[in-house]
Symmetry: C2
Subunit: 391 residues, 2 copies
């Protein structure tokens, strides 16, 4: 039987090589034998692939491993600290940032500058961002790293071309071509999506069955951002709008939201609502007030937590995720916010097993989005190492 | 390079054969050339596959097609009206039903009996159901059909083995092994899931980009059932509990729900709440009252519609489906229920394109679940025709 499947063999090689790279990304100092056992290929196949990856400088040997075990000790393998790297950049209303991560996901260079980006001309913002990314790229090249792609995180809606910001209300942007301004190998992605991907790739959370692969990730800066990861992939929805937790109705007759509807989660737990209720003007002040036991701040956080819990209960009832992860700036407020979230989830997710520990706080902190952006290009190398070898 | 992938060639044959079968399932009287063009295989490959499928009796020729076009007219192909068939069975609180569908999805035999199943011993219910399925199977065999599998729809939670009902509160069932009672080739599935799959497979709805493949399907009998279809597959969630729209909070301080939470959708739009608000005792009476313009009935339906719309707005904001499909018994009430749903969706899905026509009513009527159950076995034949050929 004939079939139009040219390159099936090349596809297989790519697939197997990616399996090996990802096994090394997940494990620490693993041997050829361990990789073979994990990915289900023969040792001979793995050895061939490993030799190619060593020659390409994508992985390196780290000396004998497990000397205590029976038989010839295997040589430990690890992803390289040099070679392909990813650049991440972030545009938020009050700052710009850029960083470089290596194949292992470690942040190797980082630069940041405060900037009042709301309403500023986009070309100006992008020129400054280009300077920052060039700065970290230069530093990376000096450390023998080769940046292979840049991902820019934006608080807005990104076009299907992954190069244009269609709409970023908090920046005042419409139809801004970021890829053109920053160069061909640049892609743009919504910050909430990158926060969720960072959690998937680098978060280090486990579920009962291995790595956490089905979760709702919630973060917030001005708005409430959420993103869904399903079976280890970002869930974008039919038109790319999935994850709008901020506009899930909490109280149908509640306050008017900027979107035109009433009682959306954002009117209770968005930054503006939260700061107003707490009587402070900025996020750090809210945290300080909460730490000092300020009553208005504590009440505001408790109520925002309850609203978040109500909206998340709906999401959990619909999606049945393994976990809900709270990340980004919200994670800083976890001690005061999460009790309310937890209480509502316990009261409203009644039809299935839901344990308090299924609500977790991200360990990535405020840098989650930026690291997720940077790791995007690295992930592309792990998914298809052959492309890198062919260069 | 070697690899542990025995049977890659067999897999390819299975895949290609399935492509051909599914092209025939989707189209009407298509030729070999049309199939080749549609599925992206060469004409020679398609001809070989078609010959095998003809020999196995899975498809049949229907005479020359498109005589008006240039060149030799192709012979029209169609799925057989005989051969493999699927049995569907349904257990609800007030009736049992069974049917047989052929490869084309047409219902060929159907049997039904009213039965007060709530609280009845499960073995008694299953014995009656076995009689019904045997009745339709016998009729099917007389029509030259060969039933290859039975799927039983239940209003409850099904175990991972797909043979056991873990919990069906409205029947009073816990841990009932249905597969054992009905025979080896029987699987059990939640009715809401089957309603959604029926819509996917047989609903005939189109989206802007071909067949509708991403949607939320809502149905209701006693509770509110919903199921999510994503990229043409049932979305089950991490633990199989996805789609619990009935327990999405609509008003956090609303009436106490049977689940223990307050203000769940079911407390507004579940059958019990709806009948109580309308002042009637059964579904058909509600429809009659609404048709007669009874004020209490109309108000009850309007309010239930609004509650459904609020919960669905949350679902749409989270999931970004192409459409929301209302099916099952709810579809009978569409004229009175949907205006409220539509209004809330318009008011609350504000951040993306949402058109009134993205809310649709199923054309499958009350038989959607039963047809989905029956078509499950047929779908398995379409997905792997080689298994059938090997028999």
């Amino acid at each position: 039987m004939t079939s139009k499947r040219p390159g099936a063999q090349a596809g297989l090689r790519r697939h197997n090589m990616s399996l090996v790279m990802r096994a090394l990304a997940a494990g620490e100092k693993v041997t050829r034998a361990a990789v073979a056992a994990e990915v289900g290929l023969t040792r001979a196949t793995v050895s061939t692939l490993v030799d190619e990856l060593l020659a390409a400088g994508l992985i390196e040997e780290r000396g004998a491993q497990r000397p205590g075990t029976v038989g010839r000790p295997g040589t430990a393998l690890a992803l390289s600290e040099t070679g392909p790297a990813g650049i991440g950049a972030e545009i938020s209303v009050d700052h710009l940032a850029a960083c470089v991560v290596d194949l292992r996901g470690a942040v190797r260079c980082r630069a940041e500058s405060p900037a009042a980006n709301r309403g500023r001309p986009a070309p100006q913002v992008l020129a400054e961002l280009a300077e920052l990314t060039e700065l970290v790229a230069k530093e990376a090249r000096a450390a023998d790293l080769r940046p292979v792609g840049t991902t820019v995180a934006v608080p807005g809606l990104v076009g299907r071309d992954r190069g244009t910001v269609l709409r970023a209300p908090n920046l005042g942007w419409e139809d801004v071509n970021v890829a053109e301004a920053l160069g061909r190998e640049t892609v743009v992605e919504n910050e909430a999506n990158l926060g969720a991907l960072a959690e998937l790739w680098l978060g280090g959370h486990e579920s009962g069955h291995g790595k956490l692969a089905d979760f709702v990730h919630v973060s917030a800066e001005i708005g409430i951002g959420a993103a869904l990861v399903v079976e280890g992939r970002l869930f974008r929805g039919a038109r790319g709008f999935a994850g709008e937790l901020g506009h899930v109705p909490v109280r149908p007759d509640g306050p008017l939201c900027s979107c035109g509807a009433h009682g959306c989660l954002e009117t209770y737990a968005g930054e503006e609502a939260l700061l107003r209720a707490a009587g402070v003007t900025a996020g750090p002040a809210l945290r300080t007030a909460a730490e000092a036991g300020d009553e208005a701040a504590l009440r505001a956080l408790e109520e925002a937590g309850a609203a978040l819990g109500i909206a998340l209960s709906g999401a959990v009832n619909l999606l049945d995720p393994q976990a809900v992860v709270v990340g980004g700036p919200l994670a800083d407020l976890a001690p005061w916010l999460l009790p309310g979230v937890r209480k509502e989830l316990a009261a409203r997710v009644t039809d299935r097993q839901w344990r308090p520990e299924d609500l977790v706080t991200s360990r990535l902190g405020r840098d989650g989005v930026l690291r997720g952006a940077a790791y995007t290009a690295v992930r592309a190398v792990l998914d298809d190492p052959t492309q890198w070898i062919a260069r």
